[in-house]
């Protein structure tokens, strides 16, 4: 028997926000991303959670603003192996990173297209984007695009980033790693499809900006990133094989989850502040698990965010906390729309050479909060600048003091301290003017200021 938590309650709307309502806690969360409208910026990324109508409808019922349908390919459908995921665990068994070797959809194109058509018809206010990957020739794209267009979906996302299996067949990352192919495929899509085209970029390259620039040259309406990163999460030291283990073997998979967030945010920022792609809309992807993660991606230039691992680990219900948290924070800060704080961190993100070489910050230890664990001391003593002194009080208590003249403000002590706010980094008044390395007389390639 199919049960539905959202409609079977005798009090269906009591205390529960209408899941499609864009106004949450008095704040408008709606977005218009490259022409695609959604009641909120939280979309599910193309992945197992968006494989079929059943999951997608549950996601919409839970309140997700949009969904990127798991990648469609040409017939016959892909065949998947058994044993598909593995994790990089923290010591408390929390999943730090997640790895998969699953391919694109293994369901028939016909069924997928039928379901997409019906779902879009039933949920007109939600974003529905179709991920596509077909071989790198125009005929293949010219064949599938009209079929997708007929479903009424809001746009397409080109899967040019799948790092496992598909590249061996000349698709996925094999395209995404070649800027000329990105441009060409994007061009074909714009030629054979009238709605927005989002190009999903692979991080398995040296400079993410090259791929984004190629997509823009091909006519892309937006980019989304990052796709997964080539990974091996762990080796079973008895079987001497990586996980997930298929029989006696394994292969590298695609890495995602919290661990990739810092990598993804840098790549999003690189594109957002690239003068060659200044207005290219970005759908941010990579380890987003909370409203704060989403806010950070948006501050770095994302117009929407896509989530997968957090939903796979917790279920679709997490979107409720994400929307609630984001909207409360926005209300608190006075941001009345996503647009209002989008890109806000970009002006403060720059190249190293533009940083103020005269800025000085040093560590300060709050002795009342210190629990005397000595972690800051040994970290600084062994691996940094020997700028924490280990003293003993008369009663035998330990006391750690910053040697201010030696401290370079590296933050290591603050990072290793287990007590929140015990060590703070305090900016110092140096009386020196702002000086970028570009203009520093110590720089042999100094630029006159």
């Amino acid at each position: 028997m199919k049960t539905d938590t959202f409609t079977s309650s005798p009090f269906p709307s009591f205390g529960k926000k209408s899941s499609g309502d864009s106004i949450v806690n008095g704040v408008d969360l709606s977005v218009n991303f490259a022409g695609i409208k959604a009641p909120n910026p939280f979309w599910l990324a193309s992945a197992p959670p968006t494989d079929k109508a059943y999951n997608v409808v549950r996601a919409y019922e839970a309140g997700w603003g949009g969904v990127v349908w798991k990648t469609l390919g040409e017939e016959p459908a892909a065949v998947n192996v058994s044993s598909r995921y593995s994790a990089h665990y923290g010591k408390n068994r929390e999943v730090i990173g997640f790895n998969n070797i699953e391919l694109i959809t293994d369901r028939s194109l016909e069924i997928n297209l039928q379901e997409i058509t019906q779902v879009k018809k039933d949920w007109p206010d939600r974003a529905l984007i179709v991920s596509i990957m077909v071989p790198c020739n125009e005929e293949a794209w010219a064949y599938i695009l009209p079929l997708v267009e007929a479903t009424g979906a809001d746009g397409i996302e080109l899967n040019l980033g799948c790092p496992h299996g598909m590249p061996e067949r000349g698709m996925g990352a094999a395209v995404g790693q070649d800027p000329d192919l990105i441009e060409k495929v994007t061009y074909w899509c714009k030629k054979h499809y009238s709605k927005p085209v989002i190009v999903k970029l692979t991080p398995n390259i040296t400079d993410i900006r090259v791929g984004a620039q190629a997509a823009l040259r091909g006519g892309a309406d937006a980019v989304s990133l990052i796709n997964t990163i080539n990974s091996i999460t762990s080796i079973d030291l008895d079987a001497m094989a990586a996980k997930p283990t298929v029989g006696h073997q394994s292969t590298h998979g695609g890495y995602c989850g919290s661990a990739v967030k810092p990598i993804a945010m840098n790549m999003v920022a690189e594109i957002a502040r690239d003068p060659a792609t200044p207005t290219l809309p970005i759908s941010g992807i990579g380890g987003i698990s909370s409203w704060r993660d989403a806010a950070e991606f948006i501050a770095l230039g994302s117009g929407s965010v896509q989530v997968c691992t957090a939903a796979m680990l917790n279920g679709f219900r997490i979107v409720e906390e994400m929307k609630d948290g984001l909207s409360r924070w926005m209300a608190d800060k006075g941001y009345d729309s996503i647009e209002a704080f989008s890109r806000k961190a970009i002006p403060h993100t720059t190249d190293w050479k533009h940083l103020d070489i005269n800025f000085k910050t040093i560590a300060q230890i709050d002795q009342d909060l210190c629990i005397e664990c000595g972690r800051c001391y040994i970290a600084c003593e062994d691996t940094s600048h020997q700028s924490i002194a280990k003293l003993t009080e008369q009663d035998g208590a330990r006391r750690y003091e910053v040697i201010e003249d030696e401290c370079v403000g590296c933050n290591l002590c603050q990072i290793t301290c287990p007590v929140e706010n015990c060590i703070t980094m305090v900016p110092q008044e140096t009386g020196q003017p702002f000086l970028a390395w570009d203009n520093d007389p110590r720089n042999p390639f100094q630029v006159a200021s």
Partner: protein, 459 residues
């Protein structure tokens, strides 16, 4: 031996007897951590530098290191880290008053959680779950030296194991029929279950080179002078075999006995139901033995157990944690009262005790003049231990310099007699802890080894 109480009913005959419930009453007081619990708890350790817990450990166990090994699922590594500092780490994990040692000094007490890392239970996890194909410590090449150890308690065993590691041959002379000392005979049954003391000694002896002779009692069939002649060195780890007397008339009356004697019988009993139990009993004392006695009596079926101490709660040597165990078992603790008279019935058996209320004046304990009486069929004295008369009667042992009644040793654990060393409860005043005894034995072994090596070099 519970002869003084043998006229009392047995545990079977007191109240509603349920054999399984009785067994359960004496199962593990603090159940061990599961693997998962141990991993989670190990994550709480901050891996402090110059960690306060290590400073607090009388046996110098590298606590952050073994906990980190547990968190890496390296149980054998963790166990070896513990055992190389304290070969009786398994029993110490059970009986150490961690709440006043390592866990009290844990920096996490000052952290937001205000809860120390459960160091004792983690130590137990490592030592309970270690799996060595062969003994983890090896013997150095034989030195040809033979050392006599008097007493197979924690001090003697620890000394013997370390001496064996150095390549010496060791013979231990033990008065009882089993090794382990207080671990075997003197600790509450629910603190050391499943014959753990015996298993631990068996593990310790796997190193080889250690021979134990039982039924050898100093002053009776064993002479210190002979040991000095026949062995290259002697280590004395006698413990304190005699219970202090109350010094009252009627001390020999049926119904009154030393707590340690009862606990010894309880620890060895195969059928708890056969132990004599008095429904109403009194325990005199303030240490862990008094707590162990009172709590076990209560668990055996006594309904009115009163622990009486002449000073206040804060002066009790039993820790707060121990006091809580007693209270949780229905033991009533009465303070500021000292024994005044043993009350006897018409047959000359214990019928109760009269107590004199006390007060402290200028640091001295004084009777207030008020008295009260408690009715009881049994009285257990747990007011401290001393040397028993037989070991004192050994002519050579009687010559040893003393600190009070205990044997005097210097910082190298040397007694006043050349080549004779001592450690454990028989030397150290204050907290007579298993972990302290283990440390004494270990350090004495180092001192003995150094002295013998120096002598060999000089020869």
């Amino acid at each position: 031996m519970t002869n003084p109480l043998d006229y009392l009913p047995s545990a079977k005959e007191v109240g509603t007897y349920d054999p399984q419930a009785l067994v359960n009453n004496f199962s593990d007081l603090h159940p061990p951590l599961t693997d998962r619990q141990a991993i989670i708890e190990s994550q709480r350790c901050l891996y402090c530098y110059d960690a306060p817990c290590v400073e607090a450990c009388p046996s110098d166990i590298d606590v952050p290191s073994f906990i980190r090994q547990i968190s890496d699922s390296n149980i054998n590594g963790a166990a070896e880290t513990i055992l190389k500092a304290n070969i009786l780490g398994g029993s110490c994990a059970r009986v150490c008053p961690t709440e006043i040692l390592c866990e009290r000094s844990c920096v996490r007490n000052h952290d937001a959680e205000c809860q120390p890392v459960l160091i004792g239970l983690l130590q137990r996890h490592a030592t309970d779950n270690m799996q060595f194909e062969q003994h983890p410590f090896t013997r150095a090449a034989s030195t040809g030296q033979h050392i006599a150890v008097v007493g197979a308690g924690p001090a003697g065993l620890s000394c013997a194991h370390r001496l064996a590691m150095f390549g010496h041959q060791v013979t231990i002379f033990e008065a009882e029929q089993k090794p382990g000392g207080l671990n075997e005979y003197g600790i509450a049954r629910y603190k050391m279950t499943d014959d753990f003391a015996h298993k631990e000694v068996a593990f310790l002896l796997e190193i080889g080179g250690i021979d134990i002779q039982y039924g050898q009692r100093l002053g009776s069939n064993l002479a210190l002078s002979t040991l000095r002649q026949q062995y290259d060195s002697v280590f004395i780890g006698l413990g304190l075999g005699a219970s202090r007397a109350l010094g009252l008339t009627g001390e020999e009356a049926p119904g009154l006995m030393p707590a340690v004697e009862y606990i010894k019988t309880l620890r060895q009993a195969t059928d708890l139901g056969s132990l004599p139990v008095s429904k109403r009993c009194i325990v005199i004392g303030a240490g862990n033995t008094a707590i162990d006695m009172a709590t076990q009596m209560s668990r055996l079926g006594a309904t009115e157990v009163t622990l009486v101490y002449r000073r206040g709660l804060e002066a009790m040597s039993a820790t707060d944690h121990e006091q809580e165990i007693a209270k949780a078992n229905g033991v009533r603790i009465v303070t500021w009262a000292q024994p005044d008279e043993i009350m006897l019935d018409t047959q000359g058996r214990v019928a109760g005790m009269r107590f004199a209320k006390t007060v402290e004046q200028a640091g001295r304990l004084m009777p207030t003049g008020e008295t009260f009486e408690l009715a009881a069929e049994a009285i257990f004295k747990a007011i401290g231990q001393g040397f028993d008369d037989t070991s004192l009667s050994d002519a050579t042992a009687a010559e040893l310099d003393r600190d009070g009644e205990r044997i005097h040793v210097d910082e190298m654990f040397r007694t006043s007699l050349p080549n004779v060393y001592a450690g454990g409860d028989c030397v150290q005043a204050g907290q007579d802890l298993t972990v302290q005894a283990v440390q004494h034995g270990k350090l004495a072994a180092h001192a003995i080894h150094q002295a013998l090596a120096a002598k060999q070099e000089a020869a």
